[in-house]
Symmetry: C2
């Protein structure tokens, strides 16, 4: 087991990474102060790992209940979130009730937001069960739900007490979900760590093949990089924005197609190739580096052609992105592999990228 520490002063927390961690009582024990625990999970994950987690919690003598939500990004909305509140209130859950998110990014984001809002804040623990959520959404404290007009528009910054990333569960992950996680691994290397990008190129076969050691290294490195960025900028004032590489285009794809059509990681994979294209057009990046990025995205079995939503629709969707300011979209672009920059784009360059990417 490897432990990465996220340093946020009094809100610091550990991320434990390794095989078969869900069953280890001692990883949960230090973080459950009250008398009750509510596990929030979904219809896919509950039959796979619900019992294992409850067995790990049993020796602690807490009152454990489970809320099972429908699976998928399409349910990341107020109605589903309200189902969590209904269950907590019906069970008289108090301010010390600990919520445990058992599932992927959608479960993590919704459970975290429920924890942030229920009685104005209760403790929570993340048990991410997808590669994407292990490398990405379990670090950073971003929680929230979607709105019909935009992804993650309603939410809070709220930190878990601990993250337990069990690599053994990735063996039950569908191939598309694994690839979506690898997209965030590529993203992290692309914006922050050129040698890690080289390592991914050399190990993409092992990652695609769900090799435990390769995955553990990738998760650890992503968590370390993201933790250092988030520690420096918890509330996304500046630096943290670089983590959104590929996301402005990616969010537009997700919103334009309707949430759940493409996986978040698939949209980010394609979005990175679009951001690289724009970087070249604006003179920031050389074309050889763009091609390396496109190749590794393709090698990870991720889409490299964007859906044909129409240029104007893309632009409208990007203008309503959270990162837009007074209608101006700031893109995360690349100077070279491992080095990002933020820039806005003239509409003709943007349209050229959109036209070239479809």
């Amino acid at each position: 087991m490897i432990t990465v520490s996220v340093d946020l002063g009094e809100r610091s927390y550990p991320i434990h990474i390794g095989a078969d961690l869900i069953g280890r009582t001692e990883l949960f024990a230090p973080h459950i102060a009250g008398s009750a625990v509510t596990i929030v999970t979904n219809t896919t994950v509950e039959p796979l790992y619900g019992e294992k987690l409850r067995a790990a919690l049993a020796p602690l003598g807490k009152q454990v209940s489970t809320v099972v939500l429908p699976d998928g990004e399409a349910h990341k909305n107020w109605e589903t979130l309200n189902g969590v509140f209904d269950a907590l209130l019906a069970a008289h859950a108090d301010r010390k009730t600990t919520l445990i998110a058992l599932g992927g990014g959608v479960i993590g984001d919704m459970t975290g937001f429920a924890a942030a809002c229920y009685m104005r804040g209760v403790p929570f623990i993340q048990v991410p069960t997808t590669l994407l959520s292990q490398v990405d959404s379990s670090v950073g404290g971003k929680t929230g739900i979607n709105h019909p007009l935009g992804k993650n528009m309603i939410g809070a910054f709220y930190q878990p007490l601990a993250v337990v990333a069990d690599t053994a569960v990735l063996r039950t992950l569908p191939e598309r979900e694994l690839a979506a996680g690898i997209a965030e691994v590529i993203k992290t290397a692309a914006i922050a760590d050129a040698p890690f990008f080289d390592w991914i190129e050399a190990n993409i076969g092992a990652l695609n093949g769900c090799d435990g050691e390769a995955l553990a290294h990738a998760i650890k490195r992503c968590c370390e990089i993201k933790a250092s960025v988030v520690s420096a900028d918890e509330r996304e004032g500046g630096l943290r924005a670089i983590l959104n590489f590929g996301h402005t285009f990616g969010h537009a794809i997700e919103a334009g197609l309707g949430y759940g059509e493409w996986l978040h990681g698939e949209a980010v994979g394609c979005g990175m190739t679009m951001a690289a294209d724009l970087s070249v057009r604006l003179g920031h990046l050389d074309d050889a580096s763009r091609k390396r990025l496109v190749s590794i995205v393709a090698a990870a079995r991720l889409p490299i052609r964007a859906p044909a939503l129409g240029e104007t629709r893309y632009i409208d969707l990007m203008k309503s992105d959270k990162k837009a300011e007074a209608g101006t979209v700031k893109f995360v672009l690349l100077k070279r592999i491992g080095e990002p920059l933020m820039d806005s784009a003239p509409e003709d360059a943007l349209r050229a990228t959109l036209s070239a990417s479809v």
Copy 2:
């Protein structure tokens, strides 16, 4: 104009108190950094003060929009809140858009929660237009909405950048609303400041008569007391709980009757007499002090008899209160006027209080 400072480190903010402050551009100017402002108000307040506030903002050259919500506690729910999000998203409101809450406690709580959640947090300013919100809900950062199973169950701690408490607007306040505000003034004195309680007894006629100077003094003193309590305990770990004097009974009354039937301040007024009754039964308070409290609540034209919900229903409602922990209700009680204590109560004493209060 008097200014009270709420000291919360980097989240510190000023409360300006005085007549005709809504029209003063210079009170808003330092707190609006972005290019857009959205005023959130209701159907009652908009025709009275909407234009005045927009005129004060006009010289700042910001893009100003207004969202008008239905009036009343019955609308303090997700559906209404979502109306604010819809309007913000439709207007492409960005992360620097400032929300201004123009209205009473319901508007303040909902606007604050909308500001806390929209894109995970945008700036907001409070312009409370009821006595209750001027003395109470504009200090402390508590924001939120109701759930059918409990009041303020979904929310966040989120601080405004400034509060502008205009005493001139209180002249248009209905008598019931004024009395509901005086309930919180009495509460604040009862838990923290015996000389202030004496002052209220001597000046209750002036307060009932909406005397500007008396009201300004009462607002200032309440804000000072609440600010000092909140500064010491921003997230309600301990001390801050004393501000809930009268609220455990009061929330049960509001939830039991259905939100909006009694005003919050009316329920707190009656709830304080119930908490005082329980304090006497548990041997903490002498009966003469209880009688002083009942007299001043009655003199403020507030109810001193509780609605007949049934004892068991009262107890169930109190057990699902946020302040309950593992089913045990901690009451804020009085040792003497100006000095609170926290205690749980045996069920027979609680039933005796409920029976004596109806």
